[in-house]
């Protein structure tokens, strides 16, 4: 019998975590990670944060280089998987090589959505997704402003903050009337918007890009749907993402609008093919309906769960999603997914620089968000997991030690983890 062989497509947080989890559980087969990006596997969050602040060095590796040898994880970097050959049970690479495969993990992630107007691929228009994009943006920002950011999502606002900290003039254009409101509700969203206003970011809402005015291959002005024109030295586009599901055709696995639909163990419609991280379409208990969870921490944990399952120890991925976003000197942290029907409880004394908000669902904490409140978030995350019953007045009281609300319920946590 030939040796078992797992191929992981994507040297991403999800892909590498899956590989590490498999070795930790003593998976004996071959593990090959393939990625078109030539750089040793790196963390993506710093691409929109520290990598661009002008002080930090290079890419942050996910693992020390020697660990791949230690764990016998083969890396095929700078190579592309072109097809899955179901008949031969092989993965075809762009260079012509073929890899045997009996367990396939698709950790291909998402790609940044591009604008469809002319000049959207100009020299000074950046869709930030990988290291090469980050380096290009960094060199553009070195020349100064003004910077126009299209899309006031987390990536767009992080970049706005980084640019303001470098003294660059920043305008953010957002199609929705209230940026982030669909993610964190209007109360918290306005605090974040106030933070950016306080740092001199110009925010234009309810507007989209009508067209770019360019000279040669360089955009010089952004013309908005409202008719307004904004001068631009650099344009960053952060208007959402598209799943990378190109391999679905040859792998003959189902695809939906979110990505590869998977069950709670990360299996696609073909049981030996898994999807992990951003590209997985999940029916997750914290999502109101099937969807993607596009966060780095989720990718890492989902990858770990899928790797465990591949190694023969099935793990369901059900934890509350966690995301953070560095904004100026603070860190915005979000646990779970706030819903419009939740009761929002903002802790008293909230300012744009420091706040803590809870979303109560049937009297229990369903989601939490905090700015510069990381000590509380660690406890609040466990309140979400433990499904603790809480009183909104107690939560709103800034003097409440959250750990006191958690401790009597610890046994519930254990029960839930076991369930």
């Amino acid at each position: 019998m030939r040796r078992s062989s797992c191929v992981i497509v994507g040297a991403s947080a999800a892909g590498i975590s899956a590989a590490v989890a498999m070795r930790r559980l003593d998976y004996r087969g071959r593990i090959t990670v393939v990625d078109a990006d030539p750089n040793p596997p790196y963390e993506r969050p710093p691409l929109s944060k520290s990598l661009l602040d002008g002080t930090a060095g290079g890419l942050v590796p996910i693992l020390p280089w020697s660990t791949y040898d230690d764990l016998e994880i083969d890396l095929r970097l700078g190579e592309r998987v072109t097809a899955i050959d179901l008949g031969a049970l092989q993965v075809r690479l762009g260079g012509g090589d073929r890899l045997d495969v009996d367990r396939l993990v698709l950790a291909t992630g998402v790609t940044a959505r591009r604008l469809t107007v002319p000049h959207a691929d100009a020299d000074n228009v950046v869709n930030l997704r990988d290291a090469a994009d980050a380096w290009r943006l960094n060199s553009l920002l070195t020349r100064g402003g003004p910077l126009v950011v299209i899309g006031a999502g987390f990536i767009g606002l992080e970049l706005a903050a980084v640019a303001r900290q470098r003294g660059i003039d920043v305008t953010v254009v957002e199609a929705q009337p209230h940026p982030l409101a669909h993610v964190v509700g209007s109360e918290v969203a306005s605090l974040v918007v106030d933070l950016h206003h306080g740092h001199g970011v110009r925010l234009i809402t309810g507007a989209t890009v009508e067209r770019f005015v360019a000279t040669g291959t360089t955009v010089e002005q952004v013309v908005l749907s409202t008719g307004r024109r904004i001068d631009a030295a650099t344009v960053v586009v952060g208007v959402g993402v598209e799943p990378r599901t190109e391999l679905a055709a040859s792998a003959r696995v189902d695809v939906d609008r979110w990505g590869f639909p998977v069950n709670e163990f990360g299996q696609t419609s073909r049981a030996w093919i898994f999807a992990a991280g951003d590209v997985a379409s999940q029916a997750h208990p914290h999502l109101p309906a099937r969807g993607r969870l596009e966060h780095w921490d989720v990718a890492q944990r989902h990858g770990e769960a899928v790797g465990s399952t591949v190694a023969g120890e099935p793990v369901r991925y059900r934890e509350a999603p966690y995301a953070w976003s560095d904004q100026y000197t603070g860190t915005l942290q979000i646990v779970g997914r706030p819903r419009g029907t939740d009761q929002v409880v903002l802790r008293r004394g909230a300012t744009p620089e420091r706040f803590l908000a809870f979303w109560l669902r049937d009297g229990r904490v369903g989601a939490v968000a905090g700015m510069d409140a990381s000590r509380e978030i660690g406890v609040a995350r466990r309140m979400v997991a433990a499904n603790v019953l809480v009183d909104s007045d107690v939560l709103a009281d800034a003097a409440t030690d959250l750990r006191g609300l958690l401790k009597p319920r610890r046994t519930r946590t254990t029960e839930q983890l076991a369930g």
């Binding site: 966690y322 990381s374 000590r375 660690g378």
Partner: protein, 104 residues
């Protein structure tokens, strides 16, 4: 390395931590009645481990959820891959002292 008084025994409840502003900063933890001292700055990001969540003899970084062993400083989970330094702690009567790397 000099010893300095970090706190009194009663100042920290179980699960509590405090940061000593040495260079580099040190975090002192109390877990199940025992005291531990580690580098305060996470070996992955730049978060303060004193803000982390203590459970058993582990602390979880408050930003990216990496876990460290309070006894050995070992990195137990991704995203951390490097350990943090541990420092000697002694409890003398009501005083908790730590052998710190530099001076205050």
């Amino acid at each position: 390395m000099p010893w300095i008084r970090a706190c009194s025994v009663d100042e920290l409840d179980d699960g509590d931590a405090l940061q000593i502003p040495t260079n580099p900063p040190v975090a002192v933890f109390r877990a199940d009645g025992e005291f531990f001292a580690l580098d305060d700055t996470c070996s992955h990001g730049q978060s303060s481990l004193a803000d982390g969540y203590v459970e058993g003899d582990q602390v979880e970084c408050a930003w990216h959820m990496a876990k460290f062993d309070l006894r050995t400083g070992a990195a137990l989970t991704l995203p951390a891959t490097k350990p943090v330094c541990t420092y000697r702690v002694k409890v003398d009567g009501d005083d908790v002292s730590v052998e710190v790397p530099d001076r205050v």
